[in-house]
Amino acid sequence: MSEATPSSHQARRVRTAWLFLSPMLIGLAVVAVWPLARTVYYAFTDASLTAPGDYAFIGAENFAVQDGGYWYGLLADPLWWTSVWNTLVFAAGSVAIEVVLGVILALVMNAAFPGRALFRAAVLIPWAIPTVVSAKMWAWMLHDQFGVVNHTLMTLGLIAEPVAWLANPDLTLLSVILVDAWKTTPFVALLVLASLQMLPKDCYEAARVDGVHPIKVFFGVTLPLIRPALTVAVIFRLLDALRVFDVVYIMTGNAESTMTMSVYARQQLVDFQDVGYGSAASTLLFMVIAFLTALYLTAVKADVVREGR
């Protein structure tokens, strides 16, 4: 449809495209690329929050350094490894619960029953509540003396005495995982529901006519068909859970029993004012997530290429 020569027309369109793209690209460069590059840079310095301009390049000493026969630095800090372990347990635990409950929620939302619209609306409510609020709400409900959870469990005779959900180091991580799962399961449920709604009706009809047990139908037909959506949900939630900060910090602060990599890095950076060391921890966390993201992107890229024109 071009009156001018095709090549000059195409060149103009490419120029226009970049012109329209540039504000967003500049924005991303300023708020994402540059700060990330500075963080990685700081990871190799001894910068401190108290004197921001005054720092020296110290190589990889923030990560590991040997001095007098002992190792120091991030990789030699047991607390760092505790936080790595906590993060992995948190991610695996919360995502596992979310997937199981998310699928159950989605199946219920997909079933035809009176009041389904109301049920679907109710599922959105935990998602809509700000993390700070849900963490505070649950901290109150899990209060060891006055909490409704202990009260209910004792009334039902399930526990003999109050449980210190947020003080007993053996239970805090579990509590935080459950609270996170409560808030994020709706997201997983919505993704699964979206894929349930696209399933072909005829194979269900056939299974019903043949009198196959619903549980068999679920594992034989439904689950394999929703697997792609479930995979996407799991990857999204895993990447999110690995960088968790809010819910942990609000419910248990900097406590060792729940400290995640993000909480560790923030404590070094802000509370201990150690920008260099904190940046080193942040950089390691970034590398872990970048590696997993790269894996995910290679998987998704096939999709984008197929879908793209």
């Binding site: 793209l21 504000p23 708020v31 990330l36 700000p130 609020v133 505070k136 609000i250 942040s282 992107l297």
Partner: protein, 283 residues
Amino acid sequence: MARSGTRGIGPAIARLGFWLLVAGLLVILLFPFYYAVVTSFKSGSGIFEVDYLPSELSVANYTSIFAEQPFARNILNSLGVSLAVVGISLFLGLTAALALGRFRFKGRRWMLLAVLGVSMFPQVAVLSGMFELIRVLGLFNSPGGLILSYLIFTLPFTVWVLTSFIRDLPVEVEEAAIMDGAGPWTLLTRIFLPMMWPAMVTTGLLAFIVAWNEFLFALTFTLSNDQRTVPVAIALITGGSEFEVPWGRIMAASVIVTVPLIALVLVFQRRIVSGLTAGAVKG
């Protein structure tokens, strides 16, 4: 699921089980917020009694959060920051979506993947760099710093959702407009914009919610009470001593900031669900 017409005791039990499941799930989904509301209307020592039903209707907690701290100011801060983030994200997202969705050029796919990659950034990974940037720009302890930093969350999904939406619009309108000599800016504002309201409402709402709820940056980049946003204000509500956590006031503040959000989500339920799933499934 409820297969009416089938005879026998089995289906009846199955139906009963289904309704029990629905009831149990509803309790888990709704009770925590309900309990926060019940708690927020209690006063004095009544707060330490566990009541499953509303027992009091005192507004003391509600009046005291506004009297004892700049909570109204915190709400305005949150509102201002969130609206600014929505506006900037939509503008940057729309222009980028036009380029990514309607133009063919080298590096387009690569660009989309890079944008998607940014959405995976852990917040702490940019914390020290962002802190420095905000300080250099003189935006520390001001809404400007938060508006700037929140773009890191909102830009990626705004660009993705708007791009996939604009890409699916019919080609004919665009061709007709180009025939009439419309430039790309006219094309965007006159032709595409009117058709893109659904996607803009969706992404705008999601951006608003993300900005309204954000905690770590707000905690780190603001210092004084009157510059804080609502999540930080709630997290930092403290009593006279360490052992005297004012749960009633915390719940009152929580209810105030959550009710509008729940209303918003329920009103725009369909849009939000489609945005969430599109953002995840397509990207």
